[in-house]
Symmetry: C2
Subunit: 330 residues, 2 copies
């Protein structure tokens, strides 16, 4: 990730960086709404406030971090353009941010990525480069790029500027909803959770990260005291399959109260309940937070809880529960 | 509707009534967000602003009118309680509004109403009374109720207080988004459209009402100059099957630029596009507005358009497009 040394910024995340990120990105982001539901409150026996980053530009919180990184580029770096490797939300977010700021964006996409994800990246104005699936092809691509181009690599989560951008969702939430007892966030690579944790800690609000049981690498990492991989990570939560990074891990070690695990079935049930009650499209990764609130009353019962709904990028023709066809009139 | 003479209020809708309704109901409603999508703008070749009443309490704009009616009751009337006949969004809205204001609510529900709709009414705290399906049973119930009880009947749309409450959605929208060229609303009984039309007219904004071809009673009514029925009205848009009323019809005659028709297939296609791009659950009735914007470029191309998304009450296990099962990890 040599490209990153060209971007000015601190070596580690701090609260001031999140506060400045909020002001920097404000003109470009959607101030996403906070939704409530008496039905879901009753199910969870708690008072729930959903920060709806699925309604963010490109359908996920990732736009905040990508935009924050691009706004920290020098004029010269902007001209060179940027690139990343992503089959999902980060690629689309970087594409949209680059398009708004007139910065050329290349996104390397594994050839087996779903068409709907590729479309989301291309529709937002990035150039797509197909690479072989897997970690080796990904790293080879980045190395070749670093050697042969002046473009800046924008990683999906493991950088203080990205983490600070993602933390602004929690910052908006705690400003909108006073006296929260806890913030609850999905946990993949830790970009969203580390920013959320720093915000929560600064206000004496507990912070929980939620992981699928089948991709419990962060849970294992905290137990071991060093970054672990879940091998192989697998889950319907396609946004939560990545490992922690050397920037996100220490923040999560220091500021997260607990990492809680949920099963695939719990995620699917929670996802359906969120769709039905909140009237929003929530992706499996984001449903983990409501699943955890229902599963762990010892942490959450009777509390005021801020839940980050991280994204809504699903193909509405492929759902994890059985659907019968509603007939039109003839 | 003899009960209604007990409620103070003007004989016809006027702009001042909508302005006062906005202030009255503000403490109780969700100030619903206005969403945008570059993808949908590109499809429609116009600039679209979606007022998301599917994110309103009980999942539909109906809560505005119901709350406004209840806030106009005298203390004595509040004690007597209210009732309505509804198999859908109005029943749930009245239930929730009554529950918040501590006013007893009875909702008569046709025995063939879907379970999910009955649950939505009961979950919001109303007493449910099952009646036979059909207009005759409905009118018999209301007449019996008027004779035997002091409860006030709260109609679903055909009253100036209800229409004024529904108009507040458009009022919020034009305040949030300057320089709109047109407001576009679904058209069932005309409560939402009449309020929207009065707001649009006051600001020199064109207003369009959208109806399913198979339930085109309002379209026929404007042609005939008197209220017509579509016999039998039928459509996947279950919120748009009602006739105009004597209060809503003249407002629509005077202030609506045109009524446009869309087919069942156009509604289903628009609904899927809205779910996919906006990341929100939109019911078929609400998808009519986007379908119309795509279908009638002669009215809408290149314009700044405010679209009222009226509700999101669908059973997410019954959808009008084929869905394949997304497998969980094992």
């Amino acid at each position: 990730m040599t490209g990153w040394q060209h971007i000015a910024g601190p070596d580690a995340l701090n609260l001031d960086l999140i506060n400045r990120a909020e002001k920097l990105i404000a003109p470009y982001i959607v101030q996403t709404p906070v939704l409530e539901s008496t039905v879901l409150n009753a199910i969870a026996d708690a008072q729930l406030f959903f920060k709806c980053e699925n309604l963010q530009r490109t359908g996920a919180f990732k736009f905040r971090g990508a935009m924050h990184a691009l706004l920290n580029l020098t004029a010269e770096q902007r001209k060179q353009g940027v690139y990343t490797v992503s089959s999902g939300n980060h690629g689309a977010a970087l594409a949209a941010a680059g398009s708004i700021l007139d910065i050329p964006v290349q996104v390397a996409v594994p050839s087996n990525a779903p068409l709907v994800k590729k479309d989301n990246i291309a529709n937002n104005g990035a150039e797509i480069i197909e690479i072989e699936p897997g970690m080796a092809a990904r790293e080879a691509f980045i190395e070749e790029k670093q050697n042969q181009s002046q473009r800046i690599f924008i990683p999906p989560y493991n950088h203080p500027l990205i983490m600070a951008g993602q933390g602004t969702a929690a910052l908006e939430l705690v400003k909108a909803v006073p006296d929260l007892d806890a913030l609850i966030s999905p946990l993949g690579g830790g970009g969203l959770l580390s920013g959320t944790a720093m915000v929560g800690h600064s206000q004496n609000i507990s912070v929980f990260g939620i992981e699928p049981e089948l991709a419990n690498d962060a849970y294992l990492s905290l137990q071991a005291g060093s970054i672990q991989s879940a091998l192989p990570p697998k889950s319907i939560c396609d946004g939560l399959l990545t490992n922690l990074g050397e920037h996100t891990f220490p923040v999560i070690q220091d500021y997260v109260n607990a990492i809680l695990l949920v099963t695939e079935d719990e995620v699917i049930s929670a996802m359906q309940q969120l769709w039905q009650a909140l009237k929003i499209i929530v992706e499996p990764s984001s449903a983990t937070v409501f699943a955890a609130v229902c599963k762990y009353p010892e942490y959450f019962q009777g509390k005021r809880l801020g839940l980050i709904i991280s994204g809504g990028n699903v193909d509405v023709r492929r759902l994890p529960w059985p659907v019968t066809l509603l007939e039109k009139a003839e």
